[in-house]
């Protein structure tokens, strides 16, 4: 498929590099460069990494593939419900759901994988498989974010302003993201809401405490730290002192500016959409701009057993605007070529609408065939990978297991899939499971890399 399409609609012209400079980003950009060069120093297997960061849009609950990126207008209303008029995109031959008009104009930037499969219909196990690329066995393996923070984080020269794996705004739950890697690789979960007047990021931005008071109470703490002063050579206490130094670095340094959306123009904030997801996308852009290697946006509300179409009509326009703006903005800033945007949930939803009670027009869990979307960071845009059958019920060609998708991201990030995962149990564990261990997939996504 041809990828040389010109973008038909520049979603966002308000943000220019000049604006960015005016708002004082120059200094921070310098820091970001330092953070990035360190992170890439180790790129595996001689191949330079194309991607530096990942923005994961986690569709918690499992979004319908038919109503988003794999429409089946010919399958009839039993499958489509009222959403039976897919729209053309700016890539010839690719159509997507009618509620995604802005994303339709960005199709040259992303590729749609319509043949995702793992066959599991339970949230917790499916969440695990889609985020680790592993089938369950005796151990719990780390999510892609934890693996990236292991290989591209502090242990490998990352010196960013905030921890290398950030989740906006609530933890995903369902399984431990760090798995056998342990606590050090858990994500930093921001809490708060970027759509509020003030995005109170837990720990970094506290309400109502001036810097002066922060400093004077810190002095008080040091004066009263009687036990700490009685045993200055204790190793655990020294570790704690180090974490305190880092914590104050984040509190008093530039980290809080990262989360301060008042530094963006109103036009930009509107463009992303004045809602939590929209503003999360904007924060995510600001984070990757500063070299944060992995940002997850935990986008809830896709477990639509009931009132499915009502929810689609309410939520998809919000998603459409924010994600399309994000892609355009990353592209305009030259960040898309080094930033992977990964969209998907734990599974898709039943292609056949459940019209019967108690669902009355809902869609259930569906892990046999679903859709993910990838853009940037070395993934080609404007492609469709694989295909589902006429109703979106089965994979028709080129099955893609989450392992294949995650392994492709690792490759683009310069993480050696054969590398080892250190763990407290001392077991010999590879970054990526073997192709045989997951059976269903047809291997890495080389056709779009």
């Amino acid at each position: 498929m041809n990828v040389t399409f010109k973008t038909a609609n520049r979603v966002r012209q308000a943000i220019t590099r000049r604006d960015a400079l005016k708002q004082g980003f120059l200094g921070m950009a310098g820091l970001a460069l330092a953070a990035r060069s360190g992170a890439l120093a180790h790129a595996a297997s001689g191949q330079p990494a194309k991607a530096k960061s990942v923005i994961q849009i986690w569709m918690w609950g499992g979004p319908s593939h038919l109503d988003t990126f794999d429409p089946k207008p010919d399958a009839g209303s039993d499958y489509c419900g009222p959403l039976n008029k897919p729209i053309a995109t700016n890539v010839e031959g690719i159509r997507i759901g009618e509620l995604l008009p802005m994303l339709a104009q960005q199709a040259d930037k992303y590729s749609i994988i319509r043949s995702m499969t793992h066959g599991v219909n339970a949230h917790e196990t499916a969440s695990y498989i889609t985020q680790t690329g592993r089938e369950p066995d005796r151990l719990v393996y780390p999510s892609a974010g934890a693996v990236v923070s292991l290989f591209n984080g502090y242990d490998h020269g990352y010196k960013g302003l905030v921890p290398p794996y950030v989740v906006l705004t609530e933890a995903q739950g369902r399984f431990s993201e760090a798995g056998l890697l342990g606590q050090r690789y858990k994500p930093f979960v921001t809490g708060g809401d970027p759509n509020q007047a003030r995005f109170t990021v837990e720990g970094i931005i506290a309400q109502g405490i001036s810097d002066e008071r922060q400093r004077s109470r810190r002095d008080l703490l040091h004066t009263l730290d009687t036990l700490g002063k009685a045993m200055p050579s204790n190793v655990r206490f020294q570790e704690m002192d180090k974490t305190e130094e880092n914590a104050y670095g984040m509190m008093f340094g530039d980290a809080r500016k990262l989360f301060d959306l008042s530094q963006e123009t109103d036009a930009v904030r509107e463009q992303y959409g004045k809602n939590t997801f929209g503003q999360c996308c904007l924060v995510a852009r600001r984070l990757v701009e500063q070299g944060v290697p992995f940002v997850t946006i935990n986008y809830k509300g896709w477990d639509t057993h009931k009132q499915h179409f009502e929810i689609m009509k309410r939520k998809l326009p919000e998603m459409d605007r924010a994600m399309a703006t994000l892609l355009q903005d990353l592209s305009d800033r030259g960040l898309l070529e080094s930033t992977i945007v990964w969209w998907g949930g734990e599974f898709g939803r039943t292609p056949k609408v459940q019209w019967e009670a108690p669902w009355n027009g809902g869609r259930g869990h569906y892990g046999t065939c679903f859709t993910s979307v990838v853009a940037g960071g070395g993934f080609k845009g404007g492609h469709v990978v694989g295909a589902s059958d006429a109703t979106g019920s089965e994979v028709a060609e080129r099955p893609v297991h989450p392992r294949d998708l995650i392994g492709s991201m690792y490759t683009l990030l310069g993480i050696d899939p054969e590398g080892k995962l250190p763990n407290a149990a001392g077991l010999d564990v590879c970054v990526l499971p073997s192709e045989q261990s997951v059976k269903k997939g047809a291997g890495l996504l080389t056709e779009i890399m």
Binding site: E202, L221, M231, M250
Partner: protein, 542 residues
């Protein structure tokens, strides 16, 4: 006089810690072996954390520890002060901070065996059962969700049985036998959830799940022959579901089997009678008084839970090439456990009453063996659950939990202490951040108490902690002492948070902050509480 530069240095710098009078030297008992004489030099005591030893210990534990220390020329730390002891023993035994009243009651008690009395009392508390059920549920992997998938009904049923077994001080051999040999519905026969919570239901997978908690062994380190030999005992464990949501029945597969042989972990081959449950045979072997694994594992594990480190370390990695740091000590504890009829509470008693447990945490030696041979009490950050409970207790606030399994399947009572949570899948951002075990594998190492940057950030500057402190100051922290009695309030804040009274210089520093910071009184008191909550003395068991 013995002086350690590392100790004199900081004390001079701080000007806070008092110095014991020159006459107050600790004299290590002359009853101990002659070799210990070289260590009996006077020790300078650091106030308010240490006290002079009032006499010789009669505990065999102490003799065995001191003998080993003396071989390495390592000096043991002196005993901890009563202030340190009361806080330590509450946190270690019931996972709960003492209230100011409890602290004062203990400090005012002048009977010589008051530490012994307090230990006995705490072992009877409800929180003792809560806290140790938590530990057992960690290593037995009790959670609703992935990857254990016990689901809420079974979690509640299993947890209740574990907690009641601890409350009733069920001998630990019986406790384990019930888990190993039960059959039936996992909603009705609680201990069968031991098999239900095993992810890999292949016989070898079950063998691994048995070896880790009950033998302290990782079968990954065994030969394939040993693994397969043990797996045979579990080759007839079968599962079937029922019409009830998520209920499962664990049973002995009745299908006729040929006579087969199995190999015990000690290498002895046994014939399995097709008419008998092979699990009984395995349990008989494991729980026999002369079994080399079970008592050793239990004694070592309890020791590691109380002293932060196993005599064999890690406590769940017992194998021939990982020897105990003090073999005689471990043998003594094993023997004590067996002789008591597998009474775990007895084991707690003798360990907690030893001077070894009651030593100061301020090390007198920087030799690497000082830690492995237990020359002082090791500092550890308070467990996630006990820490948030402590902060909530001090401030009179509550923690909010969430569950990925929605109501009505999960139910979270409004007043819920974290140490009493049954389900590893019911959680809060605080618990996740502070290294609560995921209960995925049952390894001891799942619990991580190392401080991380996000944790430090959260304690220093999160809305959650700040709001709790503000609420605490409004509702209770600032109410000690009479009106306008700032000194009384400072003392009350100290007693509530650090479980001790402030020293003169600490009182002066706190009062000076309240008066000179330019903040309103309540704000200044918030900062005082904030500062104390952020001290190492608060955050670490010491």
């Amino acid at each position: 006089m013995w002086l350690c530069p590392a100790l004199t240095g900081p004390r001079e710098r701080t000007g806070v810690g008092g110095i014991a009078s020159p006459g107050e030297f600790v004299v290590v008992s002359a009853l101990l072996l002659g070799v210990l004489a070289s260590l009996a030099a006077g020790q300078e005591l650091i106030s308010p954390f240490e006290m002079a030893d009032s006499g010789a210990s009669s505990s065999a534990i102490d003799t065995l520890v001191l003998v080993e220390l003396s071989k390495h020329g390592i000096e043991a730390a002196p005993l901890c002060s009563d202030e340190v002891f009361v806080r330590r023993i509450y946190l270690d035994v019931i996972g709960t901070l003492p209230t100011p009243n409890e602290v004062e009651h203990f400090m005012e008690d002048s009977t010589p065996d008051k530490r012994y009395t307090l230990i006995e009392d705490l072992l009877q508390r409800q929180e003792f059962a809560d806290y140790w059920a938590l530990k057992w549920c960690d290593i037995l992997r009790v959670k609703s969700e992935f990857p254990i998938n016990l689901w809420p009904n079974a979690v509640q049923c299993y947890h209740r049985w574990i907690r009641e077994s601890i409350r009733d001080n069920k001998p630990c051999d019986e406790f384990v036998r019930e888990m190993l040999t039960s059959s039936g519905s996992n909603f009705r026969v609680p201990p069968v959830n031991f098999y239900r919570a095993v992810q890999n239901r292949e016989p070898a997978g079950i063998a691994g799940a048995v070896a880790l908690p009950f033998m302290g062994a990782r079968i990954e380190h065994w030969t394939p022959e040993q693994r397969e030999g043990m797996a045979k005992f579990f080759s007839r464990v079968a599962y079937k579901s029922t019409a009830e949501w998520k209920e499962e029945i664990v049973y002995l597969d009745p299908a006729p089997v040929e006579a087969m042989s199995a190999m015990l972990p000690d290498g002895v081959t046994v014939q399995l009678d097709p008419d008998k449950d092979p699990r009984d045979l395995f349990a008989d072997w494991l729980l026999a008084a002369d079994n080399p694994w079970f008592a050793r594992n239990m004694a070592n594990r309890v020791w590691s839970w109380l002293l932060g480190r196993g005599i064999i370390h890690e406590a769940d990695d017992i194998r021939p090439d990982n020897p105990p740091s003090n073999p005689a000590l471990l043998s003594y504890l094993e023997d004590a456990l067996i002789r008591s009829g597998y009474d775990l509470r007895h084991l707690y008693l003798i360990i907690l009453n030893s001077h070894t447990y009651q030593r100061s945490s301020i090390a007198r030696s920087e030799a690497p063996e000082a830690d492995t041979l237990f020359a002082c009490y090791p500092v550890r950050r308070i467990d996630a659950e006990a820490l948030i409970d402590a902060v909530c207790g001090i401030t009179g606030t509550r923690e909010t939990y969430s569950s990925a399994v929605p109501e009505p399947f999960s139910y979270i009572p409004e007043y819920q202490r974290s140490i009493a949570l049954a389900d590893g899948s019911i959680t809060s951002p605080f618990l996740e951040m502070f290294g609560r075990p995921t209960r995925d594998t049952g390894f001891e190492s799942e619990r991580t108490n190392a401080m991380t940057d996000p944790q430090r950030l959260h304690l220093l500057n999160s809305t959650q902690i700040q709001r709790k402190i503000e609420q605490g100051v409004r509702s209770r922290l600032a109410t000690g002492g009479g009106k306008g009695d700032q000194r009384g309030i400072v003392q009350s804040v100290y007693l509530t948070i650090l479980s001790r009274k402030p020293t003169e210089s600490e009182t002066a520093a706190a009062l000076s902050y309240v008066e000179n910071s330019g903040l309103k009184r309540d704000q200044a008191l918030c900062d005082l509480a904030w500062a104390l909550i952020n001290t190492k003395e608060f955050l670490y068991r010491h």
